[in-house]
């Protein structure tokens, strides 16, 4: 799994397997308002400014060109073929398994494995819960991108937001700021505790030594891991006084480091870019030979659903 497809496999995929019914409704219903971009040969998405008035045109293009990668804009335009007269843009989050700040596996940089894809899935589910429960957003869609997940919010209440507001949403949902009040049952206080606890469980020594210089204190943090985890979960950081050898200042440094790591749970550049093109659900991710697919339920997501036929039939 996760190997590059050949040109023949791409052609086979688009001619035999690709189906327009696999393009999500939120894209199909706004097809003519989106800019489409393509990487035709693996040299990058240089074929831009494409507009398709009808699904048949998109289908013809994909079946004829069998592109290396296919993308559609998160923005809707009056004139997508000129990228002019911007109307609104989905609020999107890119959770890339290869770039997770705390990876559960030993994948080398830029690589993905089933373990880190699973980690990205859990991260995406957590972020989406906050989008729905705290921010009250509806029409929150998930896409398996090939190397991770996209969360795509098609809710009119946020589609006009600018860069600064989108950047504030990232901070909120990832838990990227240590709140002054950590013990409230709801609101950001709870979001931060949940994200921080999860990150702390995955933290290794190297990340802690970046902010805590004393080896003795670092060792103490790991030997008292359960106690400290309980403190983070409760939010009562003053209880650190019950843990010998770890002071309040160290605890604050630790939380600051966790907040910083959590800010990397999504690629912020993708979220703040309201003209971004994102991989088209239904298309093939040639780099890893996986289908980019709409995920109806993250809980029941199975990686096998994204494996193209040519891989299932012994192409691996």
């Amino acid at each position: 799994m996760f190997r590059k497809s050949t040109a023949e496999e791409r052609i086979r995929f688009y001619r035999e397997e690709w189906n327009r019914r696999d393009v999500p409704d939120f894209i199909m219903h706004t097809l003519s308002l989106r800019e489409f971009g393509f990487d035709l040969d693996g040299s990058g998405p240089n074929c831009r400014y494409n507009q398709f008035m009808m699904a048949e045109q998109l289908e013809d293009f994909l079946k004829n060109k069998a592109p290396y990668s296919a993308y559609a804009s998160v923005a809707l335009y009056e004139k997508p073929s000129k990228r002019e007269d911007w109307l609104k843009a989905e609020l999107v989050f890119d959770i890339d398994a290869k770039d997770l700040p705390l990876k559960p596996c030993k994948c080398s940089a830029g690589e993905v494995c089933e373990k880190c894809i699973e980690e990205a899935r859990v991260v995406a589910a957590g972020l989406a819960d906050t989008l729905k429960n705290d921010l009250g957003l509806r029409n929150v869609n998930f896409v398996y991108s090939g190397r991770g997940f996209h969360i795509r919010v098609f809710d009119d209440s946020v589609m006009q937001l600018g860069q600064s507001e989108r950047s504030q949403v990232i901070n909120y949902i990832t838990g990227a700021t240590v709140p002054p009040q950590m013990t409230m049952n709801l609101g950001y206080s709870r979001v931060f505790r949940e994200r921080a606890a999860r990150a702390f469980e995955r933290l290794d020594e190297s990340k802690v030594t970046e902010v805590v210089k004393s080896k003795r204190v670092v060792q103490k943090i790991f030997s008292e891991r359960e106690k400290i985890l309980g403190i983070i979960k409760s939010g009562r950081i003053e209880d650190i006084s019950n843990v010998e050898g770890v002071g309040l200042e160290t605890m604050k440094k630790l939380l600051g480091q966790i907040a910083k790591l959590n800010s990397g749970l999504t690629d912020g550049k993708v979220t703040v870019d309201t003209k971004r093109i994102l991989r088209l659900p239904s298309s093939l991710h040639t780099g890893v030979s996986m289908k980019c697919i709409l995920v109806r339920s993250l809980d029941s997501f199975k990686l096998e659903d994204a494996v193209p036929k040519f891989m299932r039939e012994g192409g691996a």
């Binding site: 009250g136 600018g162 860069q163 600064s164 409230m184 309201t274």
Partner: protein
Amino acid sequence: MALIPGYRAALDPFSKEAKEIAEAAPSFDKIPRDVVDLAVTRLKWSDRERALNPSPEAVNSEVLSFYLMSQALASVSYPYSREVHFAGQSMKNTVRYRIYDLFKKGEEKFCLETIARIVKINELDVAKPRVAGVEIPQQDIFKIRDKRLQKDGVVEVDSWLLPQYLPKYAVHWTGLSPILRHGRLDMTDMYLVGGWAVLTTRDLWDIYAELIGAKTEEYIQSVYERMLETSAPPLPVLTEVGGRISSLVPKAPESRGGFSMQGGKLRPEFFPPCINLVLGGVGSGMRNFAIVMLLTSFLTYARFPPRGRLVTKISDTTDDISPLKEEVAPLIFEAADKCNPPFFRDQPQEKTNVYYHMGLGMTTEPKIGDSGRSKWYRCPNCTKVQISAPPLCRPDEFCRSIKNPLTYYFRKKSESYKNGGS
């Protein structure tokens, strides 16, 4: 004294009541002297002076002085400048004081109706607040109360004050986007449930005041952009008021917003896409517009922004010509050389034209004393760029909220300072 219907204009200068007053008013050059003075003194008000007598005359003067102040600042300053931020803060403080004052006088309903015009409000059951079907836990109610008490430095509360510190309202967070955009509110400071920010009465008043402050800054930006479109000089009363306001602005750099970002070296990382395209050179049909009209005016105004007085020549902003020779001119000449064919090799007379458009007359060796020998051309608005050189307009997401390339630059620079950039 009973409130008059038009009093809403005193809480929202962008309300229909305020707009009606502004539309019926005489031109600024015929405006009474006491209103002219009010446009300046309103920025020096102590809290007590912010209270407004609810008479039609007082409300009229209030609205006119607000618009005079805003237009005056747009004529002698630039978006995200210290002056503009100062005016936004002052407006916020004024509205905040008036809301609290009205509330104390039992006019809560009037305040709420005013606020509800610009942001959707949900009134909560104080005894058992529920938001989006979720009951707010009692412990959280106390913590929200204590947080606000701490913010106000209040140690003891009586039975009259206490209700102001209890969660009583909820507003949808997306309605707060102007203040989120300006960094006047941090989402992580909000208590959000189902999309609603739970607020105490005091939080609501403050947030409304912040919204009006942010809208004031955005309004001054829009006037600035409109002024760039016209070649006529601003009315003398605007430059007089603008100059007087500018002299009130605290000079010491402060940490927030535009307070430490005036002038200074050019920061190419904040240039808009059209300017970056011109810096890379353009084809023969666009060279004159791109190099002489757009790049020259953009770079000179970005490097020498107005500083609180009428600016018609570069020497109004500086006594030193060296930044122009060492920073601005090399960028222009380099871009000209990258054109196809190279602009000045092809048309050497255009080099003097560049200085001419900087207001330095026909010269190739400018001196500060040459300032004012010709007109210092303003930076064209985005619509002009789109019409005159369509290929240069490749807007990014930032372009959406601006109408002039200079605003793009000042805003990016301001945001960088806010985010802790140097």
